[in-house]
Amino acid sequence: MNFNLDKKQSLFKQMITEFADKEIKPIAAEIDENERFPTESVEKMAKLGIFGIPVPTQYGGAGGDNVMYSIAVEELSRVCGTTGVIVSAHTSLCVAPILEHGNEEQKNKYLPKLCSGEWLGAFGLTEPNAGTDASAQQTTAVPDGDNYILNGSKIFITNAGYAHVYVILAMTDKSQGVRGITAFIVEEGTPGFSVGKKELKLGIRASATCELIFENCVIPKENLLGKVGGGFSIAMKTLDGGRIGIAAQALGIAQGAIDETIKYTKERKQFGKSISFFQNTQFQMADLYTKVEASRLLVRSAAFKKDSGVSYSCDAAMAKLYASETAMEVTTKAVQFHGGYGYTREYPVERMMRDAKITEIYEGTSEVQRMVIAAKMFK
């Protein structure tokens, strides 16, 4: 048993920490304020190979692992939750399903450009009437010669409008229930495919979250991902991996709030001394940091299991459940420690609190994580 990062993981952590502090942190407040998608950050991260960390080099990836990927999302989210989720949605929800379920032609066609960051990826499962009950898909895909015709819409799609490649779930045979759902690779610019309304959100405001619309959208059969009827299984496996990314995002946000609060409570003086000297501060912060470190162990353990090729579904659910609820608690208390200043946009903790909330909701709500965990316990 060894809890240490290996050489490449620690060297990577050194790099991404410095990159996050120098390149991402300085614009985090501005992109949040203006709800501006940070294309310049995407370009910078692309150069370093951040968009294909756990992908083998034969497909243009960096040849790293999921522990490194989780560290990337954690460190980026420590300073900017938006930047963390751009990488997470791209890697876990688009690159991973193509890598894990695509055929050689699909992998060779899509992965090199996705890993180089030339193309950004996204994933479309959620619909207005298919959220936690993802099986209630209303988007249809009807075979038509060498093509499928897609009709319907998807909502809350991260990276929408900036992505070039979308993994889309659609119903190919309603009578089969979840076994009638199929996954497709849809490229930007395909006739009949458009990006709809952009959501105005509480947090991760610089991330693009939009509706996707399919109106008689013609998708060639070679873009079918996996098998006909295999889409629901692909989606569930994809979300298992995605949960490591979101857990890492939550962990990063929580760590960022801890860092800011330590700094602030050391500087802030009341009753003649720094408020960091007060036992209330110290005891509460000790509890919070313990939870953050526990989250980190859960995240790294889930990522390590994914790298080891063993089942990690329950581990990812526990990591996401615990890290996201910890992020919400830590950031809320961080605002409290900052007092009135914490409630203003002069300090980053209010942004962190707004960003933390989504981690309890997307890629499976906390309730869904509890369902996944309990299902394993009581099977």
Partner: protein, 261 residues
């Protein structure tokens, strides 16, 4: 073109504290980094490699843990790395260090040697120039830019001076020392990291470099540190953001208050 870059591992702070009783540096809890001037020197080498093609070797003298900066250098794009490490090198001042590095460099092939101007822990700016002297090659210090003239294979070099800049031309073999203001060093790439950790670092000891042991380590170091101490902490002072005329008045009145004028 073969380029060798000399790099050093240093403590990551300019505010490092000194134990007032022993006069030694308090190293605990201070992370080690690649010296900033050296990192810019490496960036110069990697940019030349990108533009004109070159092999870039990094070399450092230090304890075994100095391997960390060699890995970092390779993850940034250096092709290979040499670690000079031996108990016989311990306690080296700049002369003994440059003797050891020059010894290793004599055993290698190179056209251009790049060093950082100075290390943030010692601030001497002596090791690079001393290496050039030992090797009897020309040197240009305080370099902020270097371009290669592809027609006649010379380098056009911009050197910073106290008054401004000098533009110089030089042929290889050559040693330059680089300022950290020369560039913004690149980050390690993810694939660079993954491949760097699998590369073998060449480790050399005193026996491998054919330098008289009397010239190495503490024995070869004429420098003796008499005393080291922390500067006293000054208060932050008052800041006046006013027009120059008013500022002059304030300065004069303060100097008068203190009977300086």
């Amino acid at each position: 073109m073969k380029i060798v870059v000399c790099i050093k591992q240093v403590p990551d702070t300019t505010e490092i504290k000194i134990n007032p009783k022993t006069g030694t540096l308090i190293r605990e809890g201070v992370p080690s980094i690649m010296n900033p001037d050296d990192k810019s020197g490496l960036e110069v080498a990697l940019s030349l490699k990108d533009k004109y093609g070159a092999s870039v070797t990094v070399i450092t003298m230090g304890p075994p843990q100095a391997e960390a900066i060699l890995l970092e250098a390779m993850a940034m794009g250096a092709d290979d790395a040499i670690l000079l490490t031996d108990r016989k090198f311990a306690g080296a001042d700049t002369l003994a260090t440059s003797n050891a590095l020059a010894g290793a460099l004599r055993k290698m092939e190179w056209d251009l040697i790049i060093a950082g101007r100075q290390a943030i822990d010692g601030d001497t700016a002596q090791v690079g120039p001393q290496i050039a002297e030992h090797l009897d090659i020309p040197q240009i210090s305080y370099v902020v830019d270097i371009e290669k003239d592809i027609h006649d294979n010379t380098f056009v070099i911009k050197k910073q001076t106290e008054e401004g800049y000098q533009i110089l031309e030089a042929n290889t073999p050559l040693l330059i020392t680089v300022l950290s203001s020369a560039n913004k060093p690149r980050y390690m790439s993810v694939n660079g990291i993954v491949t760097a950790v699998d590369k073998k670092i060449c480790v050399l000891g005193a026996a491998n470099i054919e330098v008289d042991e009397e010239k190495l380590g503490l024995k070869g170091s004429p420098t003796k540190v008499h005393k080291a101490f922390s500067k006293g902490v000054k208060s932050a002072g008052e800041v006046f953001e006013v027009e120059p005329d008013e500022a002059v008045g304030i300065i004069i009145s303060r100097l008068k208050e203190k009977y300086i004028i």
